[in-house]
Symmetry: C2
């Protein structure tokens, strides 16, 4: 493995000081002269026709500068699946009809927030109620209320995968079982509520500062919904306080801020309240998962038949992609010689589900990993042994998906077994305690171009200077995950510079190189990282040429950039300082600065992803048998994310993932009543607190991913999946209660508890 100077080191994050000192400006911190404050009126009913909207009283309120409804807008639908325009089903503001409680109906802009809020109350909307559906089964019933006329059965997207011979395989299997799982919706619960600030310049161009994961996607969709040209819109991502998938689309408030800024000529800022986030924000897809598996008696997995129904809520949002990916996650972790998947994305009159950390995997893998644990018990094989037997390995091929180019799964299983003292601990626990395992595989960015971008998937520009510094420009978006730091590390490593030698400018659609698809699918390190490497290598070729010419080096010499110098490898005296070589290259080009552009687009990588990560996690819980309360005592994690670029960042991702997994498994849920979300504050919607966090131990199984920059692959999302099934198995191990429908509440445990736990 390569020797690195910067990569693999615990480099302090580029944004750490600004965030720690409070100087980091988030969108809501930005104030512009003459700025107006916007608010959005939302539907109070789950499904209705809009008969009439009267905004006259609102408009008459002193201080109100603008009131808009869907009728004022160009009425252009949008959606992220731009490749299939039929799937674009959402208006920025409702036209004729609302489809969920919280659907955006009107917007106001006023001189202050109080006035804007008062104005909302003065808008009179006459609704004609329509019948509504709130779950998958009802929505799929014949004669069910139809949400979108072009989908009379409420199914907006279906997807099928099939390979091998599934019927034959099940016939030949020794052991077959089918289970139905239900998983629920949860919130991203990012610290920073969404905020957008739009300003229009005197040429009519819009600048939008917005809390987003995807400046480029917002730019494109905002242009299309406003009927403007893409490049007359500039999207800037300020500091962002978390996204987790919840900020990866264009959102109605982005449109409303921009549209009202255009109408008034004044900047308009809209910041959501936590209540709005919780009642109307995107959420993780609830799903119904029917999984049938076949095994040989020796534990060899021979077939899987998987049906997943996604409860999409009122609009597609990222649902089509989720439907697509669920089928892949269903067959990603183990060798599935025969596999069939059928997925449906179903409309219901609830807030739309969207992308959320893991994006299909937490649901799909909750079912798959729990079922694996059931099978292990039934076949009398240790759950880890059963997994090792069927585990994917480097070089394995998933039909129509990809060949696994690096895989540390077996090592992860072995390592986590060792760390947790699995076999011994599993047998020696006290009453009311249990341990369980869950695993994951995840993608390192998506390959399928559903957004139909015309640009490379990621790009970078690197400018190097005679003073020994470099400037990295990239549209990649740091939303707290640390990509600015990681990309600087990659560049510093490749050019032999220090972190402080590098200035970075990122996530500004007008200034940074076109384009980058944004932060989602754990794509940034691999894709933006590769783009940075591509640019850096072009720079190096020029530097190497100059040094070769200057020292009259034999062409066979290998060269390197290291410690601020450029020289012949093994002959360090034949070289010069980085800055001196840049100056020489510049001279050789008659003064032209040394600038290189790099890009990355995955090609020949199938339909899903260029690289796969793997990991295994063991949870140790104790369950209070009087109350059903679960306490997670410890988590052990071993995972393969390729080369670790920044150990602290990887550790942070792991901790955050466990935190979210804990909430997903045990306590987070939306309580709803006829489409209305009742858990609308953090008092009611319960995320685990710092005190709920278990201690943990972790290990990175370092593989070298050939497609990744310096061998790296994803580390941010895969880890969101194993926690829930590991805890569920531990609870089962402790109590005999097997959770088939998340979350694992005390009520369910008390009801399902067996007198004698299965250990």
């Amino acid at each position: 493995m390569a020797q690195f100077s910067i990569v693999g080191k615990d480099i302090p994050r580029t944004d750490a000081r600004a965030k720690a000192t409070g100087t980091a400006l988030y969108t809501d911190d930005i104030k512009l002269p003459g700025m107006l404050y916007g608010k959005i009126l939302r539907s109070p009913v789950p499904h209705a026709r809009i008969v009439h909207i009267d905004v006259s009283k609102a408009l008459a309120l002193p201080g109100v500068k603008c009131v808009i409804t869907g009728e004022d807008t160009p009425k252009i639908k949008y959606g992220n699946w731009r490749l299939f325009p039929d799937t674009q089903d959402e208006y920025p503001l409702a036209v004729d009809r609302v489809r969920f409680v919280g659907d955006e109906v009107a917007a106001v802009a006023a001189v202050d927030l109080d006035t804007a809020e008062e104005a909302l109350q003065l808008i009179r909307v006459e609704y004609e109620d329509l019948p509504a559906v709130f779950d998958i089964e009802s929505a799929l019933k014949k004669g069910a209320p139809v949400l979108h006329d072009n989908c009379p059965n409420n199914v907006s997207v279906t997807r099928k995968i099939e390979y091998g011979d599934i019927r034959k395989a099940f016939k030949e299997a020794d052991y077959v079982r089918e289970d139905t799982f239900r998983v629920h919706a949860v919130s991203h619960a990012y610290m920073e509520p969404c905020s957008s600030l739009a300003a229009v310049d005197l040429d009519g161009r819009i600048t939008l500062w917005t809390s987003t994961q995807t400046p480029y996607i917002v730019q494109c969709l905002l242009a299309s919904t406003l009927g403007m040209r893409e490049n007359d819109i500039r999207v800037i991502k300020p500091y962002v306080g978390g996204g987790f998938g919840g900020k990866m689309e264009m959102r109605p408030w982005e449109f409303c801020a921009a549209f009202m800024a255009k109408k008034t000529g004044r900047p308009v800022k809209i910041t959501l309240t936590r209540e709005e986030e919780l009642i109307a924000g995107r959420r993780r897809h609830p799903m119904k998962i029917v999984s049938k598996v076949g095994f040989k008696n020796d534990g060899t997995l021979v077939a899987k038949d998987l049906k997943i129904y996604l409860d999409g809520g009122a609009y597609n949002s990222m649902g089509p992609t989720a439907t697509f990916l669920c089928g892949n996650f269903g067959a990603m972790l183990y060798r599935y010689p025969n596999y069939r998947f059928y997925g449906q994305h179903v409309y219901t009159n609830k807030p739309p589900a969207g992308a959320m950390r893991g994006f299909g995997a937490p649901q799909s893998l909750y079912a798959a990993e729990t079922q694996m644990n059931i099978v292990a018990e039934e076949l009398g094989i240790d759950p880890i042994d059963l997994r090792i037997k069927n585990a994917m390995r480097t070089g394995d091929k998933i039909p129509d998906v990809a060949t696994i180019s690096s895989c540390g799964f077996i090592e992860s299983l072995e390592r986590v077994a060792k760390m947790s003292n699995w076999k011994r601990r599993r047998k020696s626990l006290k009453d009311g305690e249990g341990i369980g395992i869950g695993c994951y595989s995840f993608i390192s960015g998506g390959v399928f171009n559903w957004f139909n971008t015309q640009y490379p998937f990621s790009a970078a520009e690197v400018r190097v200077f005679a003073d020994g510094t470099a400037h990295l420009l990239t549209m990649a978006s740091d939303i707290g995950q640390g990509s600015d730091t990681v990309l600087k590390q990659i560049l510093a490593e490749e050019l032999g510079l220090k972190m402080e030698d590098i200035r970075i400018t990122s996530a500004d659609t007008a200034m940074t190189p076109q384009a980058d698809l944004g932060t989602w699918g754990s794509r940034v390190t691999l894709m933006a990282g590769n783009a940075v490497l591509d640019a850096a290598r072009k720079i190096k070729q020029k530097l190497f040429g100059a040094v070769s010419a200057r020292f009259n080096l034999n062409v066979i010499y290998d060269m390197e950039c290291k410690d601020g110098r450029v020289y012949a490898k093994g002959r360090p005296e034949r070289g010069m300082s980085f800055g001196e070589v840049v100056a020489m290259v510049q001279k050789a080009n008659r003064g032209e600065p040394l600038v290189a552009r790099g890009s990355y687009t995955p090609r020949g990588k199938g339909l899903v992803t260029p690289a796969f990560s793997f990991g295994a996690q063991v949870a140790h819980v104790s369950v209070d048998k009087e109350t059903g309360l679960v306490r997670v005592k410890k988590m052990w994690t071993a995972h393969d994310c390729g080369t670790v670029i920044n150990p602290s960042s990887v550790e942070g991702q792991l901790e955050g993932s466990i935190h979210m997994g804990l909430g997903y498994a045990l306590c987070e849920q939306f309580v709803m009543d006829k489409g209305k979300t009742l858990t609308n504050t953090f008092l009611d919607y319960k995320i685990p607190s710092a005190l709920d966090m278990p201690p943990g131990e972790s290990a990175c199984i370092e593989t070298y991913e050939p497609e990744g920059p310096m061998g790296a692959k994803e580390a941010g999302e895969g880890l969101a999946s194993p926690t829930a099934p590991a805890i569920a198995e531990a609870v089962y191990h402790a109590t005999g209660y097997r959770c088939m429908d998340l979350p694992i509440t005390p009520e369910k445990i008390l009801k399902g508890m067996k007198k004698k736990a299965p250990k």
Copy 2:
């Protein structure tokens, strides 16, 4: 001449709406959180040793966050003649010694302006007075006080030019005369006083928003005086309210704002008062000019021997360049077969003179043109006829300078004669009225690399998009002269786009392409324009290739970009819309955006400039013989600026030049007492008002300058020169008073008036 769609049209200026509506943000309009206000303590004495500075009381004042003196700084000298480090003679804050009243001694930063001002008064400086000199003669005397130890004779730069055989020529001349002229200092009197705002980020990088003509030069010199790396400093030029040469160097307040921001960790803004501008700001060089000319009786100019002594004030500033250029301006307008120049830059204990609109030419040409008028009278030849006889023409060569590649001087003379009805009017004026002529030639940017830049003289990046828009990035600085508009026009013209299709980003040293030397010497239209053209042409080649491939065009086809389309010339149906072709090029490059970089560096253009402009101006004045008051009744101007890119902007330059010329000729002057400037407000320092402006007529003699973009050359500075000599000649014509020392005050007229005027 080429047919243009955008060039030559009266396109509204890009900055017009922002300025008219008051939304344009100048540096002083920018406020940052936690910002401190800085003030500078200046020397009250013209020449002294600093014995001791006690800042303790100032530091103790509540609200004061920082007090610095030269001793706190790295004590690194700076100056624009970086190619000759010996000429860098100025410290950002005085070290040991002050050399003029107003010299920067200390700086404070406080929470508000009042506190900062109060703090200044609490700083105790003990000076030990040194003898001072205030004029050229005294400074050059033996035993005169020495300002800079490395220049014991107070001469910092000398320059000689000689060609032909000057002695022989004078011997063979029929008519020889020598005159001594004195010209005075005037102020740039820009509307926006200098302002600088520095912020330091948590990595220690500085961002400086500053009212400057030269962001790149400020970046480099700030880095060197702070001991930082150039690219750890980012200079951004916000809207600028005029410069006229007064904002083309690094200034002490830029250093002080940056240094105190570093020291305090808080943004620091320093905005000068008008009083500071007038007492300590740069000013136009006073000069003593001794000019000896020889003619044949038929009016043929045979020789000139020119000696110019520049009163540079206390530091070099742009004086070395002025010394250099004066010698060139002395022989630029007419055919000088034999020429000798000797120039000296002399230190005196006054505020340093610097660059100012025309930069050497107004002084040099006041003398040359006045002398030409004297000679015309003495030889009995009409002044315009004498000029036409000796006028430069296209193809003329100035030894060691350049070949004149386009010259509309004779046409200008003929045109202005016709417009003003010169010969008839000159004979038929009422008593107390007179008309006179003055002419100019000027440079279109400098060729001599005195700043020793390692970059092209100007650069541009052009990005074009499938939506039919383009983004132009350039470090060129619009300081009110309109370069953003002109560069957009050039790009729009070349790419066949509309002005509204182009976004421009300019004058940000971190974001716009390295580098541009700034706005001075009338260089921007030609140099940045050529860089833009270079980039645009690279874009076009790609577009042409795509259309050729798509329509299978014969390689001999010429192609063009026009009206938003790209097509075969003469076969417009074989083409596509601009955006479609961009999309096709992008496809052909697997998604890579279409971006091109262009640059311009003058090569093989001698030592002075790539192109010369010419013009002639006639003034009609009436003089009140009781009071000596001059009223300019009308001005006629004909000038050759090559292709006119924006007629209104050229007209604006002309009007502004006449306004400044009027002030230079008649009323502006610094009244000084022992080095102290007494005219320290606009009540005392008198610039002409709008009511003083004469009506005028003007004509552009359009030539096509082969080195200029689309045939264009300078239009902004040359016109600053002819007004004063034209008015002086008109006053002579009206009164018989010949002004040999500007300004032409009523007192001088009354004293010098002849009973019978010479007409």
